[in-house]
C-alpha cells in the first residue's frame, strides 16, 4: 500500500520539478548547437568570424524561430499547424504588394496588416479544428493547400523584387545594433514574451493542461475551445510576422515563398523538446531547435557532407529527438511506479 508520504521522499531526483526534463533537453540541444558551430568554425573560421557568417548565424534562424514558437504553442495543446508555410507566403506577398500599391505607406502599418492577416488565417484554422472537431493535422493540411492556392491565384507569375520595396524596410533585414541583427532582436523579444506568457499567465498554463489531458481540462471547466482557437491565432500571427521578416530578408517574393517551412517548424519544435502528444516543452526549446536546424543546414556543406545527405541528417535529428523523449518518458514512468510500489 502506498502512503502519501513515501513517494515524494522515495522518488528519485529526476523530473520531480515540472519541466525538469525539459530544461535538461534545452541544455542538450544548446550544447549540440555550440558543438556544430565550433566544428564548422574550426573547419572554416569564416563560418563565425566574418560579418556574413555572423549575420547568417543569427538572421536566418530568426525567421524560423518565430514560426517554431507559434508551432510549439499549437503542439503543446495537442494539435499541429501545417499551414504556417502557406500563411508566411501570403503575408510576405501582402507585404510586398502593399509597398507597391500604396507608395509611402508606413512600415509599421504594413507589419500590422501582415500580422492581422496571419492571425485571421490562424483563426480560420482554429475555428475549423475547434468547431468541426476534425483533427488539426487534417484541417491544416487542407488549409496548407488552400492558402497556397489563394497565393498562386493572387500572385500569378508576378514577383515582388527588392527594387519594389523601400530602402528603409530592406535595411531592417541587414541592420545590426551592437553586432546583433535587428530582426534577431525582434524575434528574441517575441520569444521572451511568449515564454513569459506560457509560464506565468493562466492562459499559458491552460495550453499545457489541455495538451496534457483534454478530457480532464473539460472536467476542470477550462474553456478548451477558446484556448485552442487562440493557439492557432497566435501561430498564424507569428507566421504573419515571419512573412514580413521573409520579405525584408530576401527582398524577393514569389508565389512559392515560405513553402516547406511548416515541416521545418514542426521539426524545430520536436527537436527542441516539445512533445508531439502535447503538454510538455518550452518555446525556448523550440527556438533553440530552430537555430540548430538552420545552423546544421549551413554547417554540413562546410563540414564536407554532400548535399544529398544533409536532409537525411535533419531526419535523423528529428527521429533521435523523438526516440530520446520516449525513452526518457518510459524510464521516468517506470521509476515513479517502482518508487510507489516499493513504498
Amino acid at each position: 500500500m502506498s502512503t502519501t508520504t513515501a513517494p515524494a521522499a522515495a522518488a528519485p531526483a529526476i523530473a520531480k520539478k515540472p519541466g525538469g526534463i525539459g530544461r535538461a533537453r534545452e541544455f542538450g540541444i544548446l550544447a549540440a548547437l555550440v558543438l556544430v558551430v565550433i566544428a564548422a568554425t574550426v573547419k572554416n573560421p569564416a563560418f563565425l568570424f566574418s560579418s556574413d557568417g555572423w549575420r547568417d548565424l543569427l538572421l536566418t534562424p530568426s525567421i524560423l524561430m518565430l514560426v517554431a514558437v507559434g508551432q510549439a504553442i499549437v503542439i503543446i495543446t495537442r494539435n499541429v499547424d501545417l499551414s504556417v508555410g502557406s500563411v508566411m507566403g501570403l503575408t510576405a506577398y501582402l507585404t510586398g504588394r502593399l509597398f507597391v500599391d500604396v507608395p509611402g505607406i508606413p512600415i509599421v502599418v504594413v507589419v500590422i496588416a501582415a500580422v492581422l492577416l496571419g492571425a485571421f488565417l490562424g483563426l480560420v484554422n482554429g475555428a475549423l479544428v475547434a468547431f468541426a472537431k476534425v483533427p488539426a493535422m487534417v484541417i491544416t493540411l487542407g488549409t496548407l493547400y488552400a492558402y497556397r492556392g489563394i497565393n498562386v491565384l493572387w500572385t500569378g507569375s508576378d514577383r515582388i523584387n527588392a527594387s519594389d520595396m523601400p530602402k528603409d524596410f530592406l535595411a531592417l533585414g541587414t541592420q545590426q545594433i551592437l553586432f546583433i541583427p535587428v530582426l534577431t532582436i525582434i524575434a528574441v523579444i517575441v520569444l521572451a514574451l511568449a515564454a513569459w506568457y506560457l509560464r506565468n499567465i493562466r492562459g499559458g498554463r491552460e495550453y499545457y493542461a489541455i495538451g496534457s489531458d483534454p478530457s480532464a481540462a473539460e472536467l476542470y471547466g477550462l474553456k478548451v475551445t477558446r484556448r485552442v482557437l487562440s493557439a492557432f491565432v497566435l501561430s498564424g500571427a507569428l507566421a504573419g510576422l515571419a512573412g514580413v521578416f521573409y520579405a525584408a530578408r530576401y527582398g524577393s517574393i514569389s508565389s512559392q515563398a515560405g513553402s516547406g517551412w511548416e515541416l521545418d517548424a514542426v521539426g524545430a519544435a520536436v527537436i527542441g523538446g516539445i512533445a508531439i502528444t502535447g503538454g510538455v516543452g518550452t518555446v525556448w526549446g523550440a527556438a533553440i531547435g530552430a537555430m540548430l536546424l538552420m545552423t546544421i543546414n549551413r554547417a554540413l556543406p562546410i563540414l564536407g557532407i554532400p548535399d544529398f545527405w544533409q536532409r537525411a541528417v535533419v531526419g535523423v535529428l528529428i527521429i533521435g529527438a523523438i526516440v530520446l523523449d520516449r525513452v526518457l518518458a518510459v524510464r521516468q514512468r517506470r521509476q515513479l511506479i517502482e518508487a510507489r510500489d516499493e513504498s
Binding site: S2, T4, A11, R202, Y208, A209, G221
Partner: protein, 509 residues
C-alpha cells in the same frame, strides 16, 4: 442524534434535486432522482452499481444536463451547462477516478484555471505554494507540491482532488467513493477533514459502498435503486439490514439462475501473473462447466488481468495454460487458437466493428476458417452468421443491418455471437450486462448458464453484486491488483464480497 437531525431539517437547504430524469437515447439512466443536502450535514448516498448515483453526481457537476425535474442551489433554480458553472456556483466534485494533468505539478493541478494572479495577471507562485502548504498541513500530507502527478498512486491523486475542493472553498462537496482506494489511516484523515468541513457549515455528499463508513461519518442517508429515489432517513433511525433491503429490493437469486452443471477438468490455469503497478501474483483455475466471477471495484485491475490472459496486454511474470499447454504472451491469435475468447467491456470500441453489418461482425473472428482458398463468399458468411444470430435471438430485421443502429443489449449479443462462433473452450466476459436493459440482461445470463452447462468454462468480470452472487460457482475478489479472497458459491454473500473488495488489511473503526 435524532433530535439533532430533525432540528437540522428546519434550516434552508444547500442543494435540492427533485424528480430529476436523465436518459441516453433509449436507455434511462435516471428515472426519478431526488436528493436534499443541508448545510452542516454529511449525507450518504447509497445504491448498487447502476442505481443512478453517478448520473446524479454528473448532473450536479454540470457534466450532464437533466431532461426534466427541479434542481435548486441555495433555493435558486439552476441549470448548469458546463462544469465551470457548477464550480463557480460552489459545487466541488471528487470523482472516484481522479482526473489530473499528468505532465503538470501537484500545485498546478490544484489551481489550474483559477491561479492567484498579481501584477499584469502574472501567476503568483508564492501565494499558490503557501496555500498548498496550508492545505497539505491541514490534510496532514507531505506530498511534494512541485513533482508532476504522473505516476502517483490513486490515493495520492485523491488527496490532490480533495485539496482542490478545499482550495475552491466549495459550499457543496460531493465525494464519489473517495475511500475506494485509500488505506485505513488515509480514510481516518479524510473523515477528520470531512467533519471539520461540515462544522464550517458546508453540505457534504458522501457516496460509498462501505456501510461502516456510512454509519461512522454520515448523519443522513438516501437510498437509490434502479435509477430512482427510494428513501431518506436519519442515520440513527436505520440499520444496515434495512438499508441493504432498500438497496436490493428483490430476491437476488431468482433473477440470476445458474443451472447446475457438472464441473469437469481444469481448462484455464493462470499462475502468478504479475505486471508491476497493475496486478500482482494472480493465480486461479477455470474448470469446464464452471462460471468463475472476478469481482471487485472499478480500477481493481480485473480487466487488465483479462487482457493480459488473452494476450492483448503484456505481463512480466507468471504463466497462462490452456488444457495443460502454455499460451504465448502478447499474442491474441495464439490465445484464440488455444480456445480462449474475450468479450471486452467497451463494446463500441473494442468488441464491435460498429459500422459493419451484423453478419460481418459475427463472422469476423472466423473468417479464416470460413474462407475457401482464401476467398470468402457472402453465402458462407450468411449461413454461419444466421446460426448464431438466431441462437442468441439478436433482434434485427436482417443480417446486413449496421451494428451501430442496434440497442446495447443486441450489440452485446452480436459480440457474444462473434466469439462463440470461434467455438471457444473458455469464455472471458467483461461486464456482460453493463448498460443493457433488464430483459436482455436475463437472456444473457440464461445463455451464459447454458454455455457452462455445455461444458464451457466462463470467467466473468462483473461489478454488479447480484449478478456475481447469482451466476458464479466461485467468486474471486480483486482489490488494488491482487486477489484478496476466493469464495465458493455457498459461502458468498454481498457482505463478504464487498468486504474483500474494499477493505485494506488494516482495519479502522
Amino acid at each position: 442524534m435524532v433530535d439533532a437531525a430533525s432540528a437540522r431539517s428546519a434550516p434552508p437547504t444547500a442543494l435540492e434535486l427533485h424528480r430529476v430524469v436523465k436518459s441516453f437515447g433509449p436507455v434511462v439512466a435516471l428515472r426519478s432522482g431526488s436528493l436534499t443536502l443541508r448545510p452542516g450535514s454529511i449525507h450518504a448516498l447509497i445504491g448498487e452499481n447502476g442505481a443512478g448515483k453517478s448520473t446524479l453526481v454528473k448532473i450536479m457537476a454540470g457534466l450532464y444536463r437533466r431532461d426534466s425535474g427541479d434542481f435548486r442551489l441555495h433555493a435558486d433554480d439552476v441549470d448548469f451547462t458546463s462544469t465551470a458553472q457548477s464550480k463557480a456556483a460552489g459545487i466541488a466534485v471528487i470523482y472516484q477516478e481522479p482526473t489530473l494533468f499528468p505532465d503538470l505539478s501537484v500545485t498546478e493541478n490544484i489551481f489550474m484555471g483559477r491561479q492567484p494572479t498579481g501584477f499584469l495577471g502574472r501567476i503568483d507562485r508564492k501565494a499558490m505554494r503557501t496555500e498548498v502548504d496550508r492545505i497539505f498541513r491541514r490534510l496532514g500530507v507531505t506530498l511534494d507540491p512541485d513533482r508532476i502527478t504522473e505516476g502517483l498512486s490513486i490515493a495520492d491523486q485523491q488527496i490532490i482532488e480533495i485539496a482542490k475542493a478545499i482550495s475552491l472553498d466549495a459550499s457543496v462537496l460531493i465525494m464519489d467513493e473517495p475511500t475506494a482506494a485509500l488505506s485505513g489511516v488515509e480514510v481516518d484523515r479524510l473523515f477528520a477533514v470531512a467533519r471539520s468541513l461540515r462544522d464550517e457549515g458546508r453540505a457534504i455528499l458522501f457516496i460509498s459502498h462501505r456501510f461502516d463508513e456510512v454509519f461512522d461519518l454520515c448523519d443522513t442517508v438516501t437510498v437509490m435503486r434502479d435509477g430512482a429515489y427510494i428513501d431518506t432517513t436519519p442515520i440513527a433511525e436505520t440499520t444496515v439490514d434495512e438499508l441493504v433491503r432498500q438497496m436490493v429490493g428483490r430476491d437476488v437469486t431468482e433473477l440470476f439462475p445458474k443451472q447446475e452443471a457438472a464441473i469437469g477438468e481444469p481448462l484455464l490455469e493462470v499462475t502468478a501473473l504479475t505486471r508491476p503497478g497493475v496486478f500482482h501474483d494472480i493465480s486461479f483455475t477455470v474448470r469446464a462447466g464452471e462460471i468463475v466471477a472476478l469481482a471487485g471495484l472499478v480500477g481493481a485491475g480485473r480487466s487488465e488481468v483479462a487482457r493480459a490472459i488473452f494476450g492483448v496486454d503484456p505481463y512480466d511474470e507468471g504463466e497462462v495454460r490452456m488444457l495443460g499447454a502454455g499460451v504465448a504472451r502478447r499474442n491474441p491469435t495464439a490465445a484464440m487458437r488455444s480456445g480462449l475468447a474475450l468479450v471486452p467491456e467497451d463494446r463500441r470500441k473494442q468488441g464491435l466493428v460498429i459500422d459493419a453489418s451484423v453478419g460481418g461482425n459475427i463472422t469476423l473472428a472466423i473468417r479464416r476458417r470460413l474462407s475457401k482458398w482464401g476467398l470468402i463468399t457472402s453465402g458462407i458468411e450468411n449461413r454461419a452468421a444466421k446460426e448464431w444470430a438466431s441462437r442468441l435471438e439478436v433482434k434485427t430485421h436482417a443480417l446486413d443491418t449496421v451494428a451501430s443502429t442496434l440497442s446495447g443489449g443486441n450489440q452485446q449479443k452480436v459480440v457474444l455471437a462473434k466469439w462463440l462462433a470461434t467455438d471457444p473452450r473458455v469464455l472471458i466476459i467483461d461486464e456482460p450486462t453493463r448498460g443493457i436493459d433488464v430483459g436482455t440482461k436475463s437472456e444473457v445470463h440464461r445463455l451464459l448458464s447454458q454455455l457452462a452447462g455445455e461444458g464451457m468454462g466462463i470467467l466473468m468480470i462483473s461489478s454488479e453484486l447480484p449478478e456475481v452472487l447469482g451466476m458464479a460457482d466461485r467468486v474471486l475478489v480483486m482489490r488494488e491488483g491482487r486477489i484478496t479472497a476466493e469464495i465458493s458459491r455457498d459461502d458468498a454473500t454481498s457482505e463478504n464480497v464487498m468486504f474483500a473488495a474494499t477493505h485494506s488489511s488494516e482495519l479502522h473503526s
